[in-house]
């Protein structure tokens, strides 16, 4: 088979498309800086960096504590509701941090929900001075931590699950106490998984736009947005993007490295599942209380707040075009996930049958899209296609390039493709790698052609995983805010954009209904996906 065949060109095309934002951002770094960027450099830029990293620091501490502690309890101990918590704690993924932020403000603001509860319980009084105001950096840290800790929880829990009981028994045999076993055996061997989880949290935290924008905290992401929207300075936006991207790519490398390390902790022959220990009353109370509090704050609290407001202000049922938003969301989800899965299947299959190293490098490069924050991607996307549009209209007299890519469904889907290709590609790849090469060879020897092997052997094997990938892509798209908000067609709303638009106009009560729908859809997707995430086979 020639080196430069159809598989090579397919992979090259995907790699180039996914590399667009990175190439745009990196090339902009070498362009001349505008006055605005010079001013920014001497004034707010350090504030942006300082705020971003302050939030990151505290989020990492909190998510580490919440994720690892919860994973430890549900993996090693039996206590009331432990089985329930093992999957219920993942539901926090259904609440994007910006919606958690709406709930915090709604609850703690003057005359907010907390005020109503106190009035109901203790009669009328001015409680406002006694209710803490959780906003700014503090509010951002809380919102982001409670919505992102499941990354650490899921990866740590899965690492704990694969820790063979043999190690723990050997530890006990060598005279280690329970505490020593935790710190000397369990945690060190889960370290790569914990670091991978924290790296994901860090990437998401630095990429967060909705929460910090809502709390009016100046960070690198809001800096990018403001440079573009308020100062109409795409070049400065890209230069801030460059700074953010450097940090993110470092974290991305840490995440990839840690995942590779985590593979060494997968079970081999002689794997013995962990025997859960039944806790005594006092300790089981502590474990149940901890998990209940985390579950309550991360999921029940924002959901209740949104339900409360939705029914307190029923007029928005009429004001918001729910059917249209549902259809818009469904439309994006189906279109994007089908395209992503189809392309991922083709590229994975090409890699498999051509066994080319160049193809492998190309596809490895393609998955970097996952590391790019939505806001950077959206701004870079606009930069690239504005420039392309200028070039095309000057040289070819074709004026529709910009309209084709910016503010169109096509452009939006293309941006989702760049952002979520790695999720789709890697998801299918991990399942594909479980099909031994000798299985393909057996099929050929039994007279099956390559195409027939793909349709008869590969597809039935990948079926479940394809469904899971579609669900995960759907979950990401439904929660996605900056790309959708910036690149969507005029007046095209999803639950995320509708909720954010209302919230940014200080109409929090109106944001409740779309937020609730968003959480509802996301919960359904998560419950579906958790069957796979928590199953022993995956």
């Amino acid at each position: 088979m020639s080196k430069y065949n159809i598989w090579f060109f397919s992979s090259l095309t995907v790699a180039l498309i996914v590399a667009l934002p990175i190439l745009t951002v990196f090339s902009s770094f070498f362009l001349e800086t505008s006055n605005y960027f010079s001013v920014l450099k001497n004034t707010f830029l350090y504030d942006y960096i300082f705020n971003s990293f302050t939030i990151l620091f505290f989020v990492l501490i909190i998510t580490f504590f919440l994720g690892v502690t919860a994973a430890y309890f549900v993996s090693f101990y039996e206590f009331p509701l432990s089985n329930f918590f093992s999957w219920a704690l993942i539901l926090a993924f259904a609440v994007p941090s910006y919606i958690f932020a709406f709930s915090i403000i709604a609850f703690f603001e003057n005359y907010g929900t907390a005020f109503s509860i106190l009035t109901y319980l203790f009669g009328e009084n001015n409680y406002n001075p006694y209710i803490p105001k959780l906003d700014g950096i503090f509010g951002s840290v809380l919102s982001i931590s409670f919505s992102l800790f499941p990354y650490v929880y899921v990866l740590t829990r899965s690492s704990f699950f694969y820790q063979s009981n043999n190690y723990i028994e050997v530890g006990q045999n060598l005279g280690l106490s329970e505490k020593e076993t935790l710190f000397k055996i369990i945690l060190p061997s889960a370290r790569p998984a914990i670091i991978a989880g924290l790296a994901l949290v860090a990437m998401e935290t630095l990429s967060d736009f909705g929460t910090v924008a809502f709390f009016n905290v100046s960070t690198l992401t809001t800096g990018i947005y403001n440079s573009w929207l308020s100062f109409d300075d795409l070049n400065s936006a890209n230069q801030i993007s460059f700074i953010l991207l450097v940090f993110i790519l470092v974290l991305f490398s840490i995440e990839i490295y840690s995942r590779k390390e985590a593979k060494y902790h997968q079970p081999g022959r002689g794997f013995k599942p962990i025997q859960k220990i039944k806790l005594n009353t006092k300790r089981s109370l502590l474990a149940t209380a901890f998990c209940s509090i985390v579950f309550f704050i991360s999921f029940i609290f924002p959901v209740s707040q949104m339900i409360y407001w939705t029914f307190k202000f029923p007029k928005y049922f009429q004001d918001i075009d729910l059917l249209n938003i549902n259809l818009n969301t469904l439309y994006l989800v189906i279109l994007a996930s089908l395209i992503l899965v189809f392309v991922s299947l083709v590229i994975n299959y090409g890699n498999r049958i051509s066994k080319s190293k160049i193809l492998n490098y190309l596809t490895n490069f393609s998955i970097s899209g996952y590391a790019i924050p939505g806001i950077i991607l959206a701004v870079a996307f606009i930069t690239f296609f504005s420039t392309l549009s200028e070039v095309v209209s000057n040289n070819l007299n074709f004026k529709l390039t910009k309209d084709l890519f910016i503010g169109s469904i096509f452009g939006l889907i293309l941006a989702y493709f760049i952002r979520f290709f790695s999720l789709s590609f890697n998801g299918i790849k991990s399942s594909y790698e479980k099909i031994n090469n000798s299985i393909d060879e057996s099929a050929y020897l039994l007279g099956y052609t390559k195409v027939k092997t793909f349709s008869t052997i590969h597809i039935p094997h990948l079926k479940n995983n394809i469904i899971l990938i579609i669900v995960l892509i759907s979950l990401e798209i439904i929660k996605e805010l900056p790309i959708t908000m910036i690149l969507r067609p005029f007046n095209f709303e999803t639950f995320a954009t509708q909720a954010y638009v209302f919230a940014s106009q200080d109409l929090l009560e109106a944001a409740a209904l779309p937020s609730l729908f968003l959480i509802g859809w996301a919960t359904i997707f998560i419950l579906f996906a958790s069957r796979y995430i928590l199953s022993n086979k995956n």
Binding site: S438, E441, S442, L445, G447, T449, I457, P460
Partner: protein, 355 residues
């Protein structure tokens, strides 16, 4: 001249720098013959099988099946068009199909015209109980048997088996080996078996090839490979004896004789041409010397191993040579270490293999 069923001419097989076999010449004259390829792990046996199956291209040389070139520098028939079945050493069952469906995949190749009765194959391979299970629900040994069944029902022109019995329990192995051989012979199915187990290679095959140091060192009937290895390397690989220094005393008569300083005269049929008076190395296998308590020829026991049907005594000559000797385990009089062990004289060995 009738054409050979399978012919490999000047075949160079290449998987990597370490894993390659060069200049292979091998002919399977008749349909229905069983050939075993024997050699240590990683020597390139599987590479040869994969190349014959068409999963890899031949580096140089050619392979002919039924007189038609299937692999050469210029020709490469795709694996799906060769009608050659390969049963892999590792699990190659289709994971999302039940065992019975996996076996039926083989049937599709033979278009249902297989004269091989699927039920008979299933019964012989003892897999009746697992037909409705999925591959991940069965053991490695069972998976190997299912893979074998799938290959058999596909009614191939040529059957290639890569370590087909390596994962099967010892108590079942011999029975299955015997049944599979019977089946292959019954259906006149030409088969090449790759193995690193010499007992398996000798008991199953009509002809046996030994691959060592990237070359096919010997290709002969199993009896000859065992008793008349054509090189020190083959003899050492088979690990069935030791070499001792002897002098050729008489190489002209019908019964030849050699002399060893301590063991004295050793008689038998000398293989190869060595002049009288030549110093040579004689292959001494454990079954060659016979224990005799009454004998005056005695050597010191340095080790004794119980091997079920036999004891293997290791005896030491004054020169320090260590010689293994089989003694039936029912033999009442046992010898401890450092004791003297009698050997029947004069020593007579059917084939005197010397180098």
């Amino acid at each position: 001249m009738s054409k050979a069923f399978l012919e490999i001419r000047n075949g160079n097989f290449f998987a990597s720098d370490k894993n390659k076999v060069t200049n292979v010449n091998l002919v399977v004259e008749n349909r229905g013959e069983i050939v075993s390829l024997l050699g240590p792990s990683g020597v390139g046996k599987t590479t040869i099988l994969r190349t014959i199956a068409g999963l890899q291209k031949i580096h140089s040389g050619e392979i002919k099946l039924n007189g038609e070139i299937i692999s050469s520098d210029k020709i490469h028939i795709e694996p799906e068009k060769r009608n050659i079945a390969l049963s892999f050493q590792d699990n190659s069952l289709f994971p999302n199909y039940k065992v019975i469906d996996n076996i039926n995949f083989g049937k599709k190749r033979s278009n249902g015209n297989s004269s091989f009765k699927t039920e008979e194959i299933i019964k012989i391979l003892h897999i009746e109980q697992i037909l409705n299970k999925y591959p991940h629900q069965i053991s490695a040994g069972e998976a190997q048997r299912v893979s074998l069944a799938r290959s058999l029902v596909s009614k191939p022109n040529l059957l290639l088996l890569d370590e087909p019995f390596s994962n099967i329990d010892q108590n079942l192995k011999e029975e299955i080996q015997y049944s599979v051989k019977r089946l292959i012979k019954k259906f006149n199915l030409t088969t090449i078996i790759v193995t690193h187990d010499s007992y398996e290679a000798f008991s199953l095959a009509d002809k046996c090839g030994v691959i060592l140091n990237q070359e096919l060192k010997q290709f002969d009937v199993p009896y000859n490979v065992h008793h008349e290895p054509n090189s020190i390397e083959v003899a050492k690989f088979l690990n069935k004896g030791v070499f001792i220094d002897v002098k050729v005393v008489n190489s002209d008569c019908a019964v030849h004789s050699l002399r060893h300083k301590e063991l004295g005269e050793i008689r038998g049929k000398l293989l190869g041409n060595f002049p009288s008076g030549a110093n040579v190395k004689l292959l001494l296998q454990p079954e060659d010397l016979i224990h005799d308590d009454q004998s005056k020829l005695k050597l010191e026991v340095v080790d004794r191993k119980f091997r079920g049907t036999n004891f293997v005594y290791t005896l030491k000559t004054e020169k320090g040579e260590q010689i293994p000797v089989f003694v039936h385990s029912h033999h009442i009089h046992q010898h401890e270490r450092s004791e003297k062990f009698g050997i029947k004289t004069p020593i007579f060995i059917d084939h005197l293999v010397c180098f």
